[in-house]
């Protein structure tokens, strides 16, 4: 039972990332009817927002201290980040909290990027074939990731979580299992809660605001909403920006779990597409549910017991499920009728 719980928890945080990316993909697809292969790149760009903030905060002033010597007898270099110079202990706290703080800069950056992307490129592809949409966003994904590679290098850049959340929580003890049976890193709990909050707020935004109502109406029948004199294109642009923000936030918060590198976007994108397909194209709830479901199944498949039974299952389980779902229920688990039936 405790092992079971542990695997569920392990799957949830990855599932959270899948769900967030898949949510954005579905949102863009549902509103604009565009298949965005560059969505994974947005996830990656979000995580590099965190990297950028971290490196900005830790810009250092180097002073040679003649009093203290290194092992080689040269004066020791004393490195102090400027921000500590300016703010003292508060500066240290800022550096420590750089990942959560990056959310603040990621939101405007990703929103801007999303809007630019939609207005500058995607807009011209509404009327083109799906194949063309796939190809152009695929090209964009390559361009974005190569730019990041040239700026940040090819190696993963570790991002520490705030010291407060560095350790692990003994969840098993809280739930009445034996000590150390279910140990789970704090940051992953935070990530799980964070993704829950983001998903809930996206749904609330669509469900309870006038803006969201118009967007939902536009998803159902774009033309009629346009005929009613509503500038639906502008709203959809903002929705694209919103999807970019969601992907970016997922990336920012994921950095302490997986050190970001330039190709993480594509790795996650392929899986997120599978998630969308399993959940059902055009179904927001389906995307979220399938995201968590596949995350959990993947974590079960990577258990030693399962892996020794069917070698390699951890690598392919998600794809296998996608294949089975598409063959048995081509519309996906929660797919709406008539959405991308062909």
């Amino acid at each position: 039972m405790d092992a079971f719980l542990l695997q569920v928890l392990n799957g949830l945080d990855k599932g959270g990332a899948y769900a967030l990316i898949a949510l954005g993909l579905t949102l863009v697809f549902g509103t604009l009817g565009v298949v965005n292969f560059a969505h994974g790149a947005l996830f990656m760009l979000g995580s590099f927002c965190a990297v950028t903030l971290q490196s900005l905060l830790t810009l250092e002033r180097v002073v040679l201290d003649p009093e203290r010597l290194t092992a080689w007898g040269t004066p020791m270099e004393i490195r102090t980040p400027y921000i500590v110079d300016w703010f003292g202990d508060f500066g240290m706290t800022l550096i420590d909290w750089s990942v959560p703080l990056a959310i603040l800069i990621a939101i405007p950056i990703m929103l801007l990027l999303g809007v630019i992307m939609e207005r500058g490129l995607i807009r011209h592809f509404y009327k083109r074939l799906h194949a063309d949409q796939i190809l152009v966003t695929f090209g964009l994904a390559i361009v974005l990731q190569e730019i990041v590679k040239s700026q940040f290098g090819a190696n993963p850049i570790p991002q520490p979580a705030p010291a407060m959340f560095a350790g692990s929580a003994d969840i098993g003890l809280m739930l009445g299992f034996a000590e150390n049976a279910v140990v789970y890193p704090w940051w992953r709990i935070i990530y799980l809660m964070f993704s829950g909050v983001v998903i809930a707020s996206v749904f609330a935004f669509l469900q309870f605001t006038t803006f969201g109502m118009v967007v939902r109406a536009g998803m159902a029948d774009r033309e009629t909403v346009g005929l009613l004199g509503i500038d639906i294109d502008r709203r959809f642009t903002i929705v694209f920006g919103l999807a970019a923000v969601v992907a970016g936030l997922a990336g920012v918060m994921y950095t302490p779990i997986l050190s970001p590198d330039y190709h993480m976007g594509m790795d996650f994108l392929v899986l997120s597409f599978v998630v969308v397909v399993v959940g059902g194209m055009g179904s927001l709830g389906g995307a979220v549910a399938a995201g968590f479901l596949l995350g959990i199944l993947q974590s079960f498949a990577s258990m030693n017991e399962v892996n020794s039974l069917i070698p390699g299952i951890d690598q392919v389980v998600i794809y296998l499920i996608a294949v089975v779902v598409l063959l048995i229920r081509p519309r996906g688990l929660f797919g709406r009728e008539g959405v991308m039936e062909n």
């Binding site: 298949v35 799906h130 796939i134 390559i142 392919v316 063959l327």
Partner: protein
């Protein structure tokens, strides 16, 4: 006088193609590509792209997983070298067959869906194969190191036919002729010509027409009571076999197979080659493959020093700025160029280079032969 109908046009095209392949060392020498290694790549990726075009160009099914078949072909070829013989013919046959079988299994599943579902499913399958090649299938694929020849390989058939074992690693042969340098290129060239001819025949056949009909309106085909899946599956398998053959040729020119050949970037590359040259055209994919491999070769070899020399005519400030910007696109940054090219082609020239050539041709023709002045609008419309 020769009648200029489709059939004769095809003959002229084929003869021209053969001449270009045969004289490639001379033709491509002025642009610095007249050496066997690069020409081999042109031919191999040309085959890969021709095969991809049979699927994407004719049926419109956009596969993002074709590199998996290339990888299967490569692995099969290297295993044939290890187990059977260093002769290239069995390797080619087996790699084509295995890739075809693999394509049959995968195509049977993924062709249940079309459009973006198909793209995503093929991508998923390719990623799955790539992941498996890296992890569980290591006994077959030798994981990250890649599958290589070894001194103590069995090579059963070579033993039977009394081929003497030399010192060191053997090289691939065609009945005793070593497949390296120019003979290697001409072997690939001959295969390319044959494959081009097959694709020409497919394009002109009723089967090809059927595939085109699938592309233009699959629903209507189904409504007329026709089951389109056997046709699309056949196209999928054929293009998979082309990819397997290309993979086999890769292993012949360099007997080493690695999983990175199956990665999604490799699948993306063949898509790019095809659309760059012109989707659904006969020559386009070969031209696209050549252009991409040529520029890859040139761009990757550039470095800061060469760029500095190239822009030395500029004032120093400007030189540094220009070099640092162009430096992004060359050497390691070749993929950036590739991605940017991808976007530019899709945005501005969806028909690829072939469409570009056709457009230029139209413009010049109109320019050379001024139209008679149209008297009425109806006349103008009639002369269009």
């Amino acid at each position: 006088m020769i009648k200029f109908n489709v059939k004769n046009k095809d003959h002229i095209l084929l003869i021209g193609f053969i001449i270009v392949v045969a004289l490639a060392p001379v033709i491509f020498a002025p642009i610095g590509a007249g050496y066997p290694d690069l020409l081999q790549k042109f031919a191999i990726f040309g085959i890969f792209a021709i095969g991809f075009n049979i699927l994407f160009g004719l049926t419109g099914y956009l596969s993002f997983g074709h590199a998996a078949f290339l990888g299967v072909g490569s692995y099969t070829a290297v295993w044939t070298f290890k187990l059977l013989t260093m002769n290239v013919i069995p390797a080619l046959i087996l790699s084509t067959l295995f890739a075809g079988l693999f394509a049959l299994v995968i195509g049977f599943i993924v062709l249940r869906r079309s459009g973006i579902y198909f793209s995503i499913l093929t991508l998923a399958f390719a990623q799955m194969s790539y992941n498996l090649a890296y992890s569980v299938l290591t006994p077959i694929t030798n994981g990250e190191t890649g599958l290589q020849l070894a001194l103590h390989d069995a090579r059963v058939l070579d033993g039977v036919f009394g081929v003497t074992r030399g010192e060191g690693l053997p090289s691939t042969t065609l009945f005793g002729m070593a497949m390296s340098g120019w003979s290697g290129y001409y072997f690939c060239g001959v295969v390319l010509i044959i494959m081009f001819y097959i694709s020409l025949r497919i394009f002109r056949s009723p089967f090809g027409m059927m595939l085109r009909a699938v592309k233009s309106n699959q629903n209507r085909m189904s409504y007329t009571g026709l089951n389109t899946r056997p046709y699309t599956l056949a196209a999928f398998v054929i293009s998979g076999m082309y990819a397997g053959l290309a993979g086999g040729l890769m292993a012949i020119t360099d007997p080493l197979a690695g999983a990175e050949r199956m990665q999604w970037t490799a699948s993306g590359e063949v898509v790019l080659m095809t659309i760059l040259g012109g989707t659904g055209t006969l020559l386009g994919p070969v031209i696209g493959a050549g252009v991409i491999k040529y520029f890859e070769n040139i761009f990757s070899s550039f470095n800061e020093g060469i760029l500095m020399d190239a822009f030395s005519f500029l004032p120093e400030m400007l030189q540094h700025a220009v070099v640092s910007i162009t430096g992004l696109f060359v050497g390691e940054g070749w993929h950036l160029t590739l991605g940017a090219l991808f976007m530019v082609i899709v945005i501005f020239l969806p028909g690829g280079l072939m469409e570009g050539i056709a457009r230029i041709g139209n413009v010049t023709r109109r320019w050379l032969k001024p139209k008679p002045v149209a008297t009425t609008e109806a006349d103008a419309a009639a002369s269009e």
